[in-house]
């Protein structure tokens, strides 16, 4: 059986960042990803990231992706693409399928960085062709360079809905409306402002009622909601659209953690069932770590910080760096993570993470 020191499942922002850190410390890394290209969501994120200089703020996701890939290549990581991990056995064996063949890899440490998937939304007409996740539309326009429609409606106004709406405009589409069932827009005001000044109207307190169309979506009907989330009769609005994008949140892709028997916590603020972990992001099973959206839905900036953190923790545990070196590094990373988890948008996630880690408060300095 082939052996490696650190097997990382998922070559997105968390997995790549983790790989870079372990490689930097002289470790051997094998990265596995079921996709044919590494990078996860980074290469479709053509917008500039927020945060501070240390979080690569102001740099576009695609450029960060290229930088991480280059570092992984320079560090001579083994990257197995088109490789779907279907199981983890005996706490140290990663079983995967590549081109129809089964393989097994033995690893001293396993990092599960599988990310998240988009939540579906069922409503009359939602099975018509022309309905897709916002992330799917983003992949089509920014990776495949295909505009799947001309006239869009977006359901949900979190940052994903707002960013994808903006990128649809950049790709040449019209966005006729953004619906938000809650009374207030969920994502950042600066994203909303960009869309508004380009003429995209927001409908807060509105949801999708049904879609009409023969072969595909032809019309979307939205309806206003009262304080109890019930339709308000007579508030229907009709939109002539050919594509409907759904952005109503993400769920962590936790199957491998369940299979290993990791302990879980149910924390809605983080996207539902999430594996419990300690301050090194090690799960209840020794040697198995998690990083990125699987630990709770956040954004690529925190995923990258978590990846580095796990990279440091694995390196320390493997004896590649000393405990003192590791603790200095970890303290800095925790500070940066806490910065991303502060303010009105981040506070809830900070509090949720404390629960998930059984009381660990992150960085003391920021408390």
């Amino acid at each position: 059986m082939e052996k490696t020191q650190v097997a990382i499942i998922g070559a997105g922002p968390a997995g790549l960042s983790c790989a870079v850190e372990v490689l930097k410390n002289g470790g051997k890394v094998t990265l596995l990803d079921e996709n044919d290209r590494p990078g996860g969501q980074l290469f479709k994120q053509i917008h500039k990231f927020f945060g501070s200089r240390e979080h690569k703020a102001g740099v576009r996701g695609i450029d960060i992706g290229n930088l991480l890939l280059q570092q992984v290549e320079e560090g001579k990581a083994r990257v197995l693409l088109g490789s779907t991990v279907y199981g983890i056995f005996n706490r140290n064996q990663v079983a995967f399928i590549n081109r129809g063949r089964e393989y097994c890899l033995e690893a001293e440490k396993i990092v599960i960085a599988t990310g998240a998937s988009e939540n579906p939304l069922a409503f009359p007409g939602s099975t018509l062709p022309g309905v897709m996740g916002a992330g799917a539309a983003q992949t089509l326009i920014n990776i495949q360079r295909v505009l799947p429609g001309k006239r869009f409606i977006m359901i949900g106004s979190g940052n994903v809905g707002l960013i994808v709406s903006y990128q649809l405009l950049q790709a040449g589409a019209k966005v006729l409306a953004i619906l938000e069932a809650a009374p207030e827009i969920g994502g950042y005001a600066v994203h909303a402002a960009k869309l508004s000044r380009a003429g995209v109207p927001f409908f807060t307190g509105y949801t999708i009622k049904y879609l009409q169309g023969n072969e595909r979506v032809e019309e979307a009907v939205a309806v206003g909601l009262d304080a109890n989330w019930k339709y308000i009769a007579g508030t229907e609005k009709h939109f002539e659209v050919d594509t409907v994008c759904i952005s109503v949140g993400l769920s962590p892709l936790t199957e491998l953690c369940w299979m290993c028997g990791c302990e879980f916590a149910y924390i809605p603020a983080l996207g539902g069932h999430v594996p419990k972990h300690d301050q090194n992001l090690e799960t209840s099973i020794s040697g198995i770590y998690v990083a990125g959206d699987i630990t709770g839905i956040e954004e690529a900036s925190s995923a990258m910080e978590e990846g580095v953190l796990v990279g440091v923790a694995c390196s320390e545990s493997l004896g590649l760096i000393t405990g003192d070196e590791a603790s200095i590094k970890k303290k800095k990373i925790w500070n940066r993570l806490e910065q991303l988890r502060s303010g009105p948008f981040g506070k809830q996630r900070h509090e949720a993470k404390v629960v998930q880690m059984g009381g660990y408060e992150g960085s003391e300095e920021l408390q």
């Binding site: 500039k48 950049q170 909303a192 109207p201 981040g346």
Partner: protein, 172 residues
């Protein structure tokens, strides 16, 4: 409290001037008379601070806590516009109110293709996206230093200098 600045934007998706005018990133009316000055239209405590580092005059302060709102020192602001493409949220503009006796010059980050050319007549939209006036493109700044965010300088009737924040191409 920052919340007060956000009453309109969180419901409608755009700022009403009455919410924005007292926010810490907006210059005073007196300062606007004196020459070009930045408008930092950023009123939610999100973790972000590249504008602070971008400003060569030290006129934008956020501080250690990166979720704090950017505060514009309009006396220090030289109106250079370097902050505009540094903002990941595309929320910074430049307003030169007295560009001529009757017109103002507004600099707007604009990430759409095709870009207008110098001299083009364009529609100018307010924060809500309503085309409220015509404008003339005076300059189109594109540079890799700007992280590929082009910045348009557009000449508009002076009475709209507090309202115009977007550009739409005619016939596009």
């Amino acid at each position: 409290m920052s919340k007060d600045y956000n009453r309109s934007i969180v419901v409608k998706g755009y700022y009403q001037w009455t919410d924005l005018e007292n926010s810490p990133g907006v210059p005073s009316m007196e300062r606007m008379e004196q020459g070009p000055v930045a408008f930092v239209e950023c009123t939610q405590e999100i973790p972000c601070d590249p504008c602070e580092e971008a400003c060569p005059a030290g006129a934008i302060k956020i501080g250690e806590n990166i979720t704090a709102l950017p505060v514009l020192d309009d006396e220090k602001c030289t109106g250079c516009g370097i902050c505009i493409p540094s903002c990941p949220g595309l929320a910074i503009f430049l307003v030169e109110k007295n560009y001529t006796k009757t017109t103002s010059l507004i600099e707007i980050p604009h990430e759409y293709h095709p870009l207008p050319c110098t001299g083009d007549e364009v529609y100018c939209t307010d924060r809500e996206g309503k085309p409220i006036s015509s404008g003339k493109i005076i300059k189109v700044k594109t540079s890799f230093k700007n992280n590929l965010t082009p910045v348009l300088s557009v000449e508009v009737p002076q009475e709209y200098c507090l309202e115009i924040r977007g550009v739409m191409l005619k016939g596009g």
